[in-house]
Amino acid sequence: MKKIINNPESVVEEMLEGIVNAHPEYVKRLEGFNVLVRADAPVKGKVALVSGGGSGHEPSHGGYVGKGMLDAAVAGEVFTSPTPDQVFEAIKAVDGGSGVLLVIKNYTGDVMNFEMAAEMAEMEGIKVDSVIVNDDVAVENSTYTTGRRGIAGTVFVHKIAGAAADKGLELKEVKRIAEKVINNVRTMGMSLTPCTVPAAGKPSFELAEDEMEVGLGIHGEPGTHRDKIKTADEITEHLLEKIFNDIEVNEKDEVAVMVNGLGGTPLMELYIVNRKVKDILQEKGIKVYKTFVGNFMTSLEMAGCSVSILKLDDELKELLSAKADTIAFKQFEE
C-alpha cells in the first residue's frame, strides 16, 4: 500500500483537521464529531442540507459545504456510513428553524443510519425530511431489492437542492426539487484499477494489466462485469448506452453532463471521454446545457471514471446555474 498517511486508523481525523486548517472561511468542525458545517451555520430561516457517508470520496462531501450547496457533511470511516449520533449532531448544528433535508446515497447502511438520526432529531422537535439518491444504472432498480446505488449524481442533488434552499424555498419545495433531480439523473462508471482502504492495507480486488471493471460502485466493491480494456470511445459508448437504456432522453432535450474521475485518473483522460460524450449526444440531437469534468465523487486512488446525465427543465436549469461558493465547487452566477 503506497499512501501519504501517518496511520491507517487516523486518516479521517487528520484529513478533517487538514480541511478545516485549509478552509476556515468555508467550514468549521463540530468539536468531538466528524462533522463539517458551514462557517456561518446555522443560517437563520434557510432550509439546511445535510449529507455525508463514508470517507474516501473527497471532495465529497465536505468539499461541498458552503453557500448554495450543503450546510453540513458527516464523514464516516473510509467507505463506512457514519453513525446516527454524528448525523444527529450535524442536523442540530445547522437547523436554522426552517427544517433540514438529508441527502442520502442509497446504501443500506447510509439509509438506516441517517433515518435513525432523523428520528432522533424529530424527537427533539426539528423538522427533518430526506431524499435518497440512486443514480447508478449498473444495478437494476426494484422495490424488492436494495435498488440502485447513489454515486456521482449526488453532486447534482447537492448543487440544485442547495440552490433551492439558498433561494429561500421551504422544506417541502426543496425536497420536491431534490427528488426531481434524483428522478432525472443517471450514472454509470468503470475502473482500471482497484483502490486500497488504508485500514485494510490491500486492494479491494485484482485486475489484470489488460482488464477493466465495469459497473462498479464507489466503495471498491467489484462491478457488474469484467472486460478487456477498450478505447476511450468504446468505453464512453458503453456507459452512455447503459444510461439511455434506463432513462428516456429525447431529441431537443437539454441535459447536464458530469464526467467524474474516481481519484487516480488524469484530467486529460476525462476530457477525452467528454469529447465522445458530446459527440454521442450531438448525434442524438440532445443539447448539452452544462458540462462538469473533474474529480467530484471519488474512490480514493482508483483509476476510472463515471459519466452522469441529468435531464433538465427550466427550473433545474436556473438552479444549476445559480451561484455556489464551496471549497470544491464554485460557480459564478450567469
Partner: protein, 211 residues
C-alpha cells in the same frame, strides 16, 4: 443467578465471541460485501464491554438500552443500526425489570426481529441476518410453548440459526451490499446471518455454563 447478572455475562460472552470471529466475519464480508463486518462488530462490542461495568447494577432494560446505543454509535454500516434497533426493541420489553421470565424472552426476541424488519425492510429469504434470526425465534418460541427449559429453547434456537446460515449459501442477496452482486452472491454465506448465529450460540453457551 440474578437475571441482570446473567445478562451481563451473556453480553460479555457475545462480545468475546465476536472478537474471536472478527477476521472470520470480515473475510465472509470480503466475498460479497466490503470486508468490514467483523471490524465493525468488534469495534462496537469492544465498546459495549467497556460500558458493561457501569450498568451492572441497573435493570435489564437499562443494560440492553446501553448495549443498543453503544452499537448504534460505534458500529456504523448496515449492521450498526440493525443490531442497535434489535437491542433497543428488546430493551423496551423489559424496561425497569431486574428479573425476567420465559415470556419476556420470547417477547424480546419477537420485538428485536420486528425492529430489524422495520429498520431494514428485509424479510426471510433476502440473505440477511434475518435468515438466521427468524428460524431461531420460531424454534425457541415453539420450545418454550412446549414448556421446555430456557437452555433447551436456546439450543434449538441456535441450531436453527446455524441451518439458516447454511441456507444463505444457496440464495441470492436481495438486500444489503451483497445484493449488487445479484446471482454472483450465491455460494457465499451471509456475514450478518453468521454474526447472528454466533450471538445465539454465545447465549446458549453462557446459559449452559451458568446452570
Amino acid at each position: 443467578m440474578k437475571s441482570t447478572e446473567l445478562m451481563i455475562k451473556i453480553i460479555d460472552n457475545i462480545a468475546t465471541t465476536i472478537h474471536e470471529n472478527k477476521e472470520y466475519l470480515t473475510e465472509l464480508d470480503a466475498k460479497i460485501g466490503d470486508s468490514d463486518h467483523g471490524i465493525n462488530m468488534d469495534k462496537g462490542f469492544k465498546m459495549v464491554q467497556e460500558k458493561l461495568h457501569a450498568v451492572k447494577d441497573k435493570d435489564c432494560g437499562t443494560i440492553l438500552k446501553t448495549v443498543a446505543m453503544t452499537l448504534v454509535s460505534t458500529v456504523g454500516g448496515a449492521s450498526g443500526p440493525l443490531y442497535g434497533t434489535a437491542f433497543l426493541k428488546a430493551a423496551s420489553v423489559v424496561s425497569d425489570k431486574k428479573e425476567i421470565n420465559k415470556d419476556d424472552i420470547v417477547k424480546m426476541f419477537e420485538e428485536a426481529i420486528m425492529g430489524i424488519k422495520m429498520r431494514g425492510k428485509a424479510n426471510k429469504g433476502d440473505k440477511t441476518m434475518l435468515d438466521a434470526l427468524i428460524p431461531a425465534y420460531e424454534e425457541l418460541k415453539k420450545s418454550i410453548e412446549n414448556n421446555e427449559t430456557i437452555i433447551e429453547a436456546f439450543d434449538k434456537g441456535q441450531k436453527a440459526a446455524y441451518e439458516g446460515v447454511e441456507y444463505t449459501k444457496k440464495i441470492a442477496a436481495k438486500k444489503g451490499r451483497a445484493s449488487y452482486l445479484g446471482e454472483r452472491s450465491i455460494g457465499h454465506q451471509d456475514p450478518g446471518a453468521t454474526s447472528s448465529y454466533l450471538m445465539l450460540k454465545a447465549i446458549y453457551d453462557t446459559l449452559k455454563e451458568a446452570k
